[in-house]
Symmetry: C2
């Protein structure tokens, strides 16, 4: 007998919230109730879902006392305010924001990598940063080939990471640019049409921005490698919904062969090798969009360092980078009986 949990989605109207609904339907996630929650502003609105129209309810007035699992995807502020309430009222919380990720008592989980860190005592699970997830899907399996010492990564991040409004802004600005009309940045700080810019998060004293610091700290936690060296440069490119990353992985000793890397990645769940030199076919955001798997290619020895190899990856930021990973966490917890239901 499969249990049928009562599921709530906080931030249902956002880009990630919509993906949750599609994924529940596609993956036949059992549930006895599905509630869409948002701020007072959206409450009362109807929203079309794969299960028919749902009326959005006001998060601030909602009681979680019947809830089995609550997915939060409405920003760190909303998570900090309402996740403790949901937990207190007995629900399991899977949080897509950065609010609790670095809390030592909260597992930060990519199921394929460290799903085993969730124990029956854990009621709050954090879903990692999208750039970290997509990078680690390709890098983590390589631990079987040698000790990883350092990662150098430059990202090519899509609009979706800044939400549905940023995706809309990219399309609108690009249309305006093609018509020769002026660009008007509203959501993002810089013109976005046919442009790219350093990730728009505050910058630390060390010169790294918040996104880069998340990649460093979260990767160390997920891999349980507190000393792992990581040098990230995070860049927003005019792409709609998949992040790409150029990655150099440096091992403590001589790097594994290209063939061994390709072989390990070919057998890694959630990863698809796309690496055809003859036809110049490698991971691209359009190929990754809508795909559950993270695409990996440009697998080659680092010509400048015998201990390093290079990879180029692309993964759907809204799927494996956000909603899919959270749904996979829930699936694992349902299977282990850590999320119950009717």
């Amino acid at each position: 007998m499969t249990s049928k949990p009562k599921i709530e989605i906080v931030g249902a109207t956002g880009a990630v919230g919509r993906e949750f609904l599609q994924l529940f339907h596609q993956r036949s996630i059992p549930h006895s109730r599905l509630t869409l929650l948002a701020s007072e502003r959206s409450a009362g609105n109807e929203m079309s879902t794969p299960y028919g129209n749902h009326t959005i309810q006001d998060l601030a007035k909602f009681s979680f006392s019947e809830s089995n699992v609550v997915f939060f995807s409405a920003g760190g502020g909303r998570s900090k305010e309402f996740a403790p309430k949901a937990l207190h009222e007995g629900a399991v919380v899977i949080d897509n924001s950065s609010a609790f990720r670095m809390d030592p008592d909260v597992p930060l989980v990519v199921p394929e990598i460290n799903g085993e860190t969730i124990t029956p005592n854990h009621k709050l699970i954090a879903n990692p940063n999208c750039s970290a997830i997509i990078m680690l899907m390709a890098v983590a399996p390589l631990r079987s080939l040698g000790k990883i010492r350092r990662i150098i990564v430059s990202t090519y991040q899509s609009a979706s990471g800044a939400g549905a409004a940023a995706m809309e802004e990219l399309k609108e600005q690009t249309g305006a640019s093609l018509r020769g009309e002026p660009l008007e940045p509203k959501i993002l700080p810089h013109p976005y049409a046919f442009n790219l810019f350093s990730h728009n998060t505050p910058i630390d004293a060390n010169g790294y921005n918040e996104e880069e610091n998340k990649v460093i700290e979260e990767s160390r936690k997920i891999l349980d490698m507190p000393d792992l060296l990581i040098n990230p440069t995070c860049v927003r490119v005019p792409v709609l919904r998949a992040h790409s990353e150029s990655i150099t992985v440096e091992f403590a000793d001589h790097a594994p062969s290209e063939a061994d890397v390709r072989n390990v990645l070919s057998h890694s769940p959630g990863v698809k090798v796309m690496d055809d030199r003859a036809t110049n076919t490698f991971p691209m955001p359009l190929a990754a969009s809508g795909q559950n798997d993270v695409l990996v290619g440009r697998i080659r020895a680092d010509i400048s360092n015998p201990n390093a190899i290079n990879l180029f990856v692309a993964g759907d930021q809204l799927l494996k980078g956000a909603a899919l990973n959270a749904v996979q966490i829930a699936e694992m917890m349902i299977q282990k009986g850590l999320i119950s239901g009717d």
Copy 2:
């Protein structure tokens, strides 16, 4: 008395050819004759220039016996076929193609870096690859701060590097994408609207593509550092005319301080530091487009390696990456009396 050379442009109708004409005018390059040359297909067409309309002449039928300097920008094949003829007939040739760049008898020149390699015996000068020029404008000045050992670079290259038709394709495809119409790649091998892909050049046995191998080999030649280690990953992004690059520079010993790097770059000709952490203002292709200077920012210590620093650069591929650098070579040679005229 300034000499007034007779100047010819081969490939005048291309994206770089048009920039030559603008630059001659802006920089008041003296000339007693200016001839636009192209293939038989374009010969006889009128072309608007800052000096009025010019009739394009047939390259195959043209005699260079009166020419003082010929700019070639019509692909390697055209340069290989006609540059020897121009040289034989007594002209100086400045070649924007890759045809002669690695010939040990041909100087490969970025004037700010190695202008002194041109001697009176040199009649053929090669203009380097755009990605190499833009990277080296930021990296070469750092040699004054320590011995550079290794460069790791991931590029964000614009459509202009593949010519005017690729720029048009990006615009057309993006318009089609916004209208929900299918994309039809013609010039470039992959869909380009809201997408990015590995540089579309043939791939070597080592897994590096031709663009990456050019960055390696040409940088070593320009810097006269045959053992310099370089690990490039070249990527085409949906941007029109400026290349960006995420660069990690590793020194043989402890890296110079951020302040020293910023100071040296602030005083380097052809470089403009754009590095404001408070307002998140760093090099962007739109800011670099139409600018002669290469923009440099994200200057910071590599958090993963005490011997390394990071940079992010953006430079106009058609200007410093191509036409401007070639015009600067000509200016230097005119000044030294190596290009004569009436």
